[in-house]
Symmetry: C2
DNA sequence: TACTATTACATAGCATACAATGCAATGTTA
DNA sequence: TAACATTGCATTGTATGCTATGTAATAGTA
């Protein structure tokens, strides 16, 4: 029996995800952020002052992962956590001046990473690839719920 | 300005990679192995007794990552490291009876993970998706070398 | 042969992911 | 309202990835 890594979707997807993370890491290093902070920053740039729970609802990661990431972001001066006006368990999360200031550069870095990755594909192929991946995500998420 | 996570290749690829790892993790848990050990196992099932360097040549990961993974595999009773016959720096890596015994089940688990993930795509679409990802990997690896 | 460079691997430190669990605050119900 | 359940978040432990660095052995060279 054989199992070929090069035709295993899981193997390839893991590999390409690490290449993306690496590419993004290098481009955003000058901004003082790291790839794991990107999803939270995207959400907070769109809407500041969310609670952890509200952020979680948007960010396909586990609560513990987000809590730890937020702690590092606070340490790095990207966010501050303030007490929630009506629920003492919760805290609202606010971007600092520093985090607000790097938004445009961070968008460019992410777009540039994607652009380089897909550089030798046609527009149609790029669209098809994204559509395929979204379908796989949908399939796997439905599976998980069972 | 906006940046849509749902149309960012990097974001989607990161997400789908985590879903694959999760799916595989659940299926191979009964075998006593974890996803990170899979690539090394695949290589050793094909050819036992490789050195770390020889394994590295096959496994798109860094040397330090492999060294740590091998240490956990030894701890878990999957491999033993023996002294190299002619080079005292190197060690050859050998699968245990336990690791040899789960080969077929592990193949099935990985194939099943891939099958479920691609369940709602046609054969042609699956082939195209794999081809696309391989092209992206090639592009990004060439980029890294610059 | 003595020095130096290279090689093979290990280790340390960190980021990012997860599951499991703890804890205080809030909600619900008898 | 006291007891219990739920919620929001933090903490702990582990896996997996990376970079940087250490160490011992080997290879190459003056």
């Amino acid at each position: 029996m054989k199992f070929d890594r090069m035709t295993s979707a899981g193997y390839l997807v893991n590999h390409v995800a690490r290449l993306f993370a690496d590419g993004l890491r290098k481009r955003i290093a000058p901004l003082g952020i790291v790839p794991g902070q990107f999803p939270a920053l995207l959400a907070l740039w769109e809407k500041d002052g969310l609670t952890q729970k509200e952020l979680l609802a948007v960010l396909d990661i586990e609560q513990a992962t987000l809590a730890n990431t937020l702690t590092r972001m606070e340490r790095d001066g990207l966010i501050v956590r303030k007490e929630h006006p009506s629920d003492a368990r919760a805290r609202t999360i606010h971007l600092t001046e520093k985090a607000r200031g790097i938004r445009a550069d961070a968008y460019r870095a992410a777009a540039e990473t994607n652009r380089c990755a897909l550089a030798d594909m046609t527009e149609d192929e790029q669209d098809l690839l994204l559509e395929f991946i979204q379908r796989v995500i949908d399939t796997m998420q439905k599976d998980k719920e069972q």
